[in-house]
């Protein structure tokens, strides 16, 4: 049973790290600030979710697992709303001609 959990953790954390890499590559390669912001937020938060999922398999007690999920939800919430704010600052009155 422990071996199964360990394998699942390794898989999930590797997937999460891959998405972090994808986010950074997007950050380096995308042409303008808005698309860079998009790459940063979407990919990195997905990576964070996968990493938290992987660590859930390693959690010893329920409280620790709940705390991990809480941290992930807070990070997601904060990122989603603050990204809108940053996008408005980068390009106010979002309509393009």
């Amino acid at each position: 049973m422990n071996l199964v959990f360990d394998v699942l953790t390794v898989l999930a954390v590797c997937a999460g790290a891959f998405f972090f890499l994808a986010g950074t590559i997007g950050l380096l390669r995308f042409p303008d600030a808005l698309s860079r912001l998009h790459a940063l937020t979407k990919a990195d938060n997905l990576g964070l979710g996968l990493i938290v999922l992987g660590l859930l398999f390693q959690a010893e007690e329920l409280f620790v697992a709940l705390k991990l999920i809480g941290v992930w939800l807070l990070g997601l919430l904060a990122a989603a709303t603050v990204t809108q704010l940053i996008a408005r600052a980068i390009q106010p009155a979002g309509l393009r001609d």
């Binding site: 807070l74 919430l77 904060a78 709303t81 603050v82 809108q84 704010l85």
Partner: protein, 311 residues
């Protein structure tokens, strides 16, 4: 080992970039980045209390403070960018920094093995204080006088900031006026995050007795949430001559000092606690101190009063 080396190189890189940045806003961004990475280093060194404090005060709140300063300095920034200190001054500064760094490195590397430490003594007496976290025991029981003095110093520095007010504006509202617009994204962010933040702040304050946390970290999170509501315009900054504000500011240090003086009667020395009631007394001190420090930090970031009450 490689992880630590990489982290150290990253922190040094960010720090060098922050010093070399020409624009004040860029330097503040670098400073916040540096602080957040430093919190990671503290976790690596198995010091989560310091990591909490670094993430909260060292980078978050101080970042807000520096941002306020950079906003106020924006008008003079174009004049300052062209200036450069004399070569002799820069050489002297570099020499002094190298000397201090080398001294610190030598002291750390030349420590005797095992390094002298009071940790065993602190852990042994933990039971008498009724606490489970040795860091909180040091802050609130063994060296409570230092904590009292720190809180008083914070209050005095707030008075120092207030002393920058022009005479005719004394007692009025600090910080620029932020408009609240119910359709604005920033209003939504605040309405979402502030309640969660307040809960997290209370949680961090409460678990400080048995796990890393405590009153300063909790107070900083509460202060950050208050500043957030001021930034979004949902709550206006309080005028500094309001009585409730001044009471809030002094209740922490006053309760702390009062219990300290009562220590003479209860256990024979200033800030001494009788053994059975130590935890209760520490709790009675911590709650008002948390509220006061939160108010102090908020007002420090808000700055000196600059708007009159009637618009």
């Amino acid at each position: 080992m490689a992880f630590d080396a990489g982290l150290a190189v990253l922190v040094l890189g960010v720090a060098s970039w922050t010093i070399a940045a020409r624009d004040t806003f860029a330097a503040v961004v670098g400073f916040v980045a540096y602080g957040l990475l430093l919190a990671l280093i503290w976790v690596r060194l198995a010091a989560p209390d310091v990591a909490l404090t670094e993430a909260a005060i060292g980078s978050g709140l101080t970042g807000g403070l520096l941002l306020g300063a950079s906003t106020r300095l924006r008008r003079t920034e174009s004049l300052a960018v062209g200036e450069k200190p004399a070569a002799a001054l820069r050489a002297a500064t570099i020499g002094l920094c190298i000397l201090v760094s080398a001294g610190l490195a030598a002291i750390i590397l030349l420590l005797p093995e095992p390094a002298p430490t009071l940790a065993a003594l602190a852990a042994a007496n933990l039971v008498a204080t009724g606490l489970g976290n040795p860091v909180t025991a040091v802050l609130m029981a063994y060296r409570a006088i230092d904590t009292l003095l720190e809180v008083v110093v914070l209050l005095l520095s707030l008075l120092g900031v207030w002393s920058l007010t022009p005479d005719h504006l004394w007692g009025s509202l600090p910080s620029p006026h932020y408009r609240a617009d119910s359709y604005e994204t920033v209003t939504f962010v605040t309405q979402l995050l502030a309640p969660i933040g307040i809960l997290v702040g209370i949680h961090i304050f409460w678990i400080g007795s048995v796990a890393p946390g405590g009153e300063f970290q909790g107070a900083t999170i509460l202060a950050a949430m208050w500043i957030l509501t001021m930034l979004s315009g949902l709550v206006d900054a309080p005028a500094v001559n309001r009585r409730w504000l001044r009471l809030l500011l002094i209740i922490g240090p006053v309760v702390f000092a009062a219990i300290g003086l009562a220590g003479f009667a209860m256990a024979g020395a200033f800030l001494a606690y009788p053994t059975n009631h130590a935890k209760l007394l520490i709790l009675i001190i911590e709650v008002p101190v948390t509220l006061s420090v939160a108010a102090m930090l908020t007002l420090l970031v808000a700055g000196p009063p600059e708007r009159s009450s009637h618009r």
